[in-house]
Amino acid sequence: MIDVCLILEGTYPYVAGGVSTWVHQLISAMTDIRFGIVYIAPNSDPTRAPKYELPPHVISLKEIYLHDYQLQKKRLREPTLQDLAIVRNFYLGLATNNHTLFPDFLALFNGQNQCFDTTTFFSHKGIWNILVELYDQTASDISFLDFFWTWRGTHLPLMNILQATLPQARIYHAVSTGYAGLLGAIAKQLTGSRFFVTEHGIYTHERLLEIAQANWIYEQQKEHFRAERDLSFFKKWWVTLFQVMSQIAYHQADRLFTLYEGNRLRQILEGAPTEKIQIIPNGIDLAGFASIKKEPRAGLHIGLIGRIVSIKDVKTFLEAAALVHRQMPETRFYLIGPTDEEEDYFEECKTLAETLGLDHVLSFTGRADIRDYYKFLHILVLTSVSEAQPYVILEANICGIPVVATDVGACREMLEGRGTEDRAIGPSGLITDVANPHATAEALLQLAKDQPLYEAMALAGRERVKRFYDQDDLLSRYLNLYEQNL
């Protein structure tokens, strides 16, 4: 029997990143616990290789694909009028944030009393009638073709989740809401086991950003057809879908964890019960970083550590770098991180760097051992438009490197302190506006020129990370949690 089944969506062990690092630390720190992993991916991909080596106490790895549809041959009972009433009331309830019917709804898709599978759900006359009723109530002047296909498109992956079979475990721990959170809620309903959610970034918020930019979602505006109202009907639908999934997870979860205060507030706004939420930030391995020997280099060395992707807003960094370069031409810039995730974006960044005349002082290192760079970097920059609680701030701070970061996620808390005790340590970096190269450049120049400020921040950073972000400390809180519930 698995002790803790981690439910992961597009992260560990196949995709590198903050969440994956955290999961790997969590698993590695608890060798006495038998872990299972359920990995949710969009499609099956036989060429994919794990990015992390799974420790031996991970005893099962199951993958669930959102967009691989298989024809079931199972013979199911015919849905009754009562079953259809459950479906209908479940959907009507969603309009008023009421999902108390979720357990009954789930039972129609999974378990002994199942009466729907993907094929029957999408072809049943009763389901059609409910769909039409909802359309008439909420969208009666909107393109029905798109209404229908959005319904299909949003529900097809849900069908795979609703019908998923999970390994038996004493604790299900979803490391995000979304499909993973929903799957955890389902596991809890089916098994009665404990269910925890740790949310690093707030799922609905991240999806909202994606959906707002998506151009594959139909907008009637193009047809000159009541543009002002329909502008975002289908986009709203997608957002609502993710909200509902989060809310179901929040309500089914026994405990909720997040990384910092800002996220806690967002969870509450999204409907999470306040009393369930607890903040456990990410920590780092102090000993590992204490061993880094500084090798100061002459001149000023500024780095951005992270994947070269649009969410990191690398272009703002480049523009800020150009401004710094104009005043301090000897400054060197480093972009340290994998470039293969959004190749188009990387190409654009390279072109921009050339255009800005930075090619002699700036380098894209690609995937690299960041410890080598902590030895000599003077300032670390973070221009992200969205972050949760970035490790790089902790790593830089423990190495005595002040950070210039945008005001997103936990950056402000991490650089200025959360509680009073934390605040008393003093700031360990500067906070700037998002997408504002001038502000970033100004902060960089301020740190570069004001030596006493720089020294104070370097000192405060080491102190803060030691006191509040010790990985062993923080992971032991999860270990306690697991042990209490096993």
């Binding site: 549809y69 024809l71 993907t118 094929t119 999408f122 072809s123 049943h124 006359k125 389901i127 059609w128 039409v132 359309y135 008439d136 009666s140 002047d141 909107i142 393109s143 029905f144 073709l145 798109d146 209404f147 229908f148 299909r152 097809l156 009637q220 047809e223």
Partner: protein, 467 residues
């Protein structure tokens, strides 16, 4: 199926009266074409030939042609709708270069199947070898003509079909008459076959002309047997259903043995063939009117779906389409009712003209109703094809076949007063079931249009619908 409609609609828009008449004429010929040609040719030959042929030869000649006609049609039936569908999809994709190779491939297979079946039958038939050979060729020609017709219909080349039939029919009569003067039955048979060979030649010529010759074979068609097995079922049972009551009569005590293995039942056949003639005008009217008027509503409906209309617009257009179906059916009933009424009024004069005896007259009266209902059934079937309701169609065609078998068997056992009632009640039940099906499907059309879209990625590449 949809092919006919677009062409006719264009025709019906033509202002002049002669265009209109032509449109009706086309649809009559295409809908009942082969049947009309055979009946008219046989009728003409009957009048022309009766003098210089003895009764036995005359009956043998007619029997062989009816058999060649009936069995060639049944033999081709499994291919009929599959080919129609395949061509419609190819035509939709504007891939007409597939037509000729598909035609040749289909022809080969059908000649092979029909050749074995027809050859085996004729082998044991106690008639002159020369006649056997002529009938064998005629049998293959008929089969080929049915196939060629599908190809030219798919390309909406109706004028040519009508022309080929007319030329072939006249030639059959003329040459049969001419050769018959010198060689009797063998001459008649060879002559008739030569006329049909001309018809087949003209149709084939047109296919090559229209689509060109690229290569000899294309096997894409056979995938469609796997993909649309219901179409095979529909074809088989529809045509078996049409012939089963006649066949039961041929081989009952009412059957009249011409030679061993070749039986007809004039008491049943003659009034039934006559009754079929009475529905030709209203069928032409219905097909022209419904397929032009109906198709307008049909297209408007799918246009609303495609062009992102709100659901209530889609619903309204669906309602308009249903209303049109009802309207056209009412017109059909009134028109055919009037025709049948007149025929019953002049029953004795008609019986006199066609030398019907009193027993045949009784069958004729009820066959009028049966033919009327069978046409109704055919029309609903035609409409169901528009919505690609293959499962429904298969069930209905099986129902038609089963009821026609069972009821005809009963009517045979009940004696001469009930002859024809089996056919009439079978067509009544089938028409009624078909109409209820159509009504139900139109009622839930929105549901079918959307919810029956495939959820999973289709296995075959060729997915174009003739919608």
């Amino acid at each position: 199926m949809a092919g006919i409609a677009f062409r006719l609609q264009k025709l019906l828009k033509g202002e002049s009266y002669s265009d209109l008449v032509r449109a009706y004429l086309y649809s009559a010929v295409i809908a009942s074409g082969p049947f009309l040609v055979v009946i008219l040719t046989l009728g003409a030959l009957h009048f022309v030939l009766s003098d210089d042929m003895n009764n036995e030869d005359s009956a043998l000649f007619r029997g062989l042609i009816v058999y060649a006609y009936a069995f060639s049609m049944i033999g081709v039936a499994p291919f009929l709708y599959v080919i129609t569908r395949y061509l419609a999809d190819r035509y939709y994709l504007k891939e007409a270069e597939f037509f000729t190779p598909t035609f040749l491939t289909a022809l080969e297979v059908i000649f092979l199947v029909q050749g074995i079946a027809g050859g085996a039958y004729l082998w044991f038939l106690p008639i002159l070898t020369a006649v056997k050979i002529a009938v064998f060729v005629l049998y293959l020609l008929f089969s080929g003509i049915w196939i060629a017709m599908i190809f030219l219909s798919a390309a909406r080349d109706y004028l040519w079909i009508v022309g080929a039939f007319a030329v072939g029919g006249v030639a059959s009569v003329g040459i049969a008459f001419g050769l018959g003067q010198y060689a009797g039955l063998i001459g008649h048979m060879t002559g008739f076959t030569a006329g049909q060979a001309l018809c087949f030649f003209l149709l084939t010529l047109r296919i090559f002309n229209e689509f060109g010759y690229t290569r000899a074979h294309d096997y894409g068609l056979f995938l469609y047997f796997k993909k649309h097995p219901a179409l095979v079922v529909i074809g088989i049972f529809y045509y078996l259903g049409i012939w089963i009551d006649k066949a039961l009569f041929w081989f009952s005590e009412q059957g009249h043995t011409i030679v061993k293995g070749l039986q007809l039942s004039p008491i049943y056949d003659t009034p039934l063939f006559l009754a079929y003639l009475t529905v030709v005008p209203s069928m032409a009217f219905f097909l022209a009117q419904m397929e032009t008027s109906f198709v307008k509503y049909y297209n408007a409906y799918y246009k609303a779906v495609r062009e992102r209309a709100p659901l209530n617009v889609i619903r309204r257009r669906c309602q308009a389409m249903s209303d049109d179906v009802t309207r056209q059916f009412l017109r059909f009933v009134v028109l055919q009712g009037a025709i049948s009424g007149f025929i019953i009024l002049f029953l004795y004069q008609i019986a006199d003209t066609f030398h019907l005896n009193p027993a045949e007259m009784g069958v004729f009266r009820i066959a009028l109703l049966g033919a009327f209902l069978q046409m109704g059934f055919l029309m609903v079937v035609n409409l169901l094809f528009y919505f690609d309701l293959q499962r429904d169609l298969a069930k209905l065609c099986i129902l038609f076949f089963v009821t026609n078998t069972v009821f005809t068997a009963f009517s045979l056992s009940w004696g001469s007063a009930s002859y024809g009632f089996g056919f009439a009640s079978a067509t009544f039940v089938s028409f009624f079931a078909a109409f209820l099906t159509l009504d139900k499907r139109l009622d839930e059309l929105d549901y079918l249009t959307f919810m029956k879209q495939p959820i999973f990625i289709p296995k075959f590449k060729l997915e174009a619908e003739s919608k």
